[in-house]
Symmetry: C2
Subunit: 352 residues, 2 copies
């Protein structure tokens, strides 16, 4: 094993595991020696893969797990039957302090349930949030929550703002990310009560939170990169994210049709292939393949279950980028200070 | 004035009124004689426009309105000060039965407030909904509510389903439109309580409602055209719609960059211009420029405030398509029957 950043890997989660997992690790470690993997999975299936990908093998330590959590298992079942699975054991590596971040392409609901049970929420955080990196005109914006919870009250939205800001600093290298609350209008009177209350709380606690808070933004502002961090509840965020994915696919289909509409169009597409290949690259969902669970004692990176080795490598790169950050300390310190000044009791890491 | 369909027009609403309004009417009536307009606005400003666009003039009867509701006026102010404005008077034309549909590019909040006060909700409908036509892989899907309300309970979602279905039949000529409820997952256990309850109610009242209800859909299903009608609350629908608009603009920008990346790419774009112009046409927001308020005693078509004559003409065409429909009767009959069988009291047209 190499020295440096250590990442725990659930090698058996996802539609094409463990093959694309090990191939993905191989893509990551070729040409770098500062990362090591604690790989959890079926030794008999992993051994031949590490023979095929020796660079991945040199960077990995395998811990055998005899069982795997299927993609159709419900969270409650995963909690009862999860022990001894590759997912459970990978999360345990983080709980034990052997790794700071875990990556899995497995069952999302199971991953969240086990992670919450094993890692518990950070002090000051009521519920974890799932954050997505959203391509924009200006680069990339962090959007959270995109589906860890169905609802969020004002205090939770404030916590998401603090977590999203720390994430944008750690992941994108921004010194002072700007933050917006997703709403249906930019006037103060519009939208749900909890969103207006969250805006009020962030402004009231500015002395402790120290956020570059820009107020309300609307749906079309996300892709325009109006802010670096978009805060919303998990229901709205999930629908916005999936709607954007569907729209990008729709427009991409229209473009393909336009460029195959006849021999002239096809010749044109060949001539424009340089620019178009960059377009394809920018639209490649594998390049943004990582949802990250924030707010636990340890960071959990979720790769898309149907991804390939390129996509899994993106998720691992995300994990590597987050590993050295002092995310938990920063978030905890801000939320403790804000809540102490507000006089409310801080959450002590229990699942509510 | 011509005989046939009669549409009331707020000539003064919107950023570029009344010029683009009258030019838009002209585009609509050139080549057809089955439509007439009741045009409300400032006679002194309208007279020279009708000289410039004589076809529009022949199809119109002007009623002078000395005042106009500005784009920045709050709904409460519009209700107090609205009388005598072009918007108020245009809606009054519908209330008086002189026209079945009204079109305005003016202030959305004011339009909704005045329309609700003057036209009242249909019997059986608690709140109106704003419906948008959403381009999809298969054609077009009706999405409602996209912003008339911030919340919707289960009964209101059921009403939206009935209204959306009647709208899709009237507007798109579908004989039996399919309906989906927007949610974060297709499993029965996911999502907000009111959405699960709405699904249960629609199935329970199937004998009266007679809807082709397909259950839950997710955000990415909208653009794929998985159903003909998407039902959601106004907060979620507004954010989904604006997120899709922003994403389409983002991807459109990427495509333009790709096709201007260098001389070869630009030559390629020229060769592919046939297909690309069809793409531009499909992506043209003016071609889907109409939000329609459903659920009142009269249909209210909202054109985008910043649109041009082409966009306003689209809104008027939408109004013309809806005018002959028996929308109110159909919706009223279904909702009365369903509520009578369920034993709950029907709403009698009051604003709740």
């Amino acid at each position: 094993m190499n020295e440096g950043v250590i990442i725990a890997i659930d090698a058996m989660g996802g539609d094409h595991a463990p093959d694309i997992v090990i191939e993905g690790l191989d893509r990551v470690v070729r040409g770098r020696s500062d990362v090591a993997f604690l790989v959890h999975g079926d030794e008999a299936r992993l051994a031949p893969l590490f023979e095929r990908y020796p660079a991945a093998g040199r960077a990995s330590r395998i811990t055998h797990a005899s069982d795997v959590i299927g993609m159709e298992v419900k969270p409650s079942q995963a909690l009862r039957r999860g022990k001894g699975t590759s997912m459970w054991n990978a999360i345990d590596s983080v709980k034990a302090g052997a790794a700071g971040v875990v990556v899995s392409a497995g069952n999302t609901g199971a991953l969240m349930a086990i992670a919450m049970l094993q890692l518990r929420t950070l002090e000051g955080v009521h519920r974890p949030a799932l954050v997505a990196s959203w391509p924009t005109v200006r680069g990339v914006t962090a959007v959270l929550d995109v589906g860890a919870n169905v609802t969020a009250d004002a205090e939770q939205l404030v916590e998401f703002a603090v977590m999203g800001e720390a994430y944008a600093r750690a992941r994108y290298g921004l010194s002072r990310p700007s933050i917006g609350l997703l709403n249906v209008g930019s006037e103060d009177m519009k939208g749900h009560e909890e969103i207006r209350e969250a805006a009020r709380l962030i402004r009231e606690r500015q002395g402790d939170l120290d956020l570059d808070f820009r107020g309300f933004i609307e749906g079309d502002d996300i892709s325009q990169g109006v802010v670096d961090v978009v805060v919303t509840d998990g229901f709205t965020g999930n629908i916005a994210l999936k709607t954007a994915e569907g729209t990008a696919r729709l427009v991409g289909g229209f473009v393909r049709e336009a460029l195959t509409a006849g021999p002239l169009a096809m010749l044109g597409a060949v001539l424009a292939s340089g620019g178009l290949s960059r377009l394809t690259d920018r639209m490649d969902p594998r390049k943004v393949n990582a949802g990250v669970f924030l707010g636990l004692n340890g960071i959990v990176v979720k790769s898309h279950g149907g991804t390939d080795a390129v996509g899994f490598a993106t998720a691992v790169e995300t994990a590597i980028g987050l590993a050295p950050s002092r995310f938990a300390e920063e978030v905890g310190a801000k939320l403790r200070a804000a809540v102490a000044h507000a006089g409310a009791p801080a959450n002590l890491g229990a699942i509510p």
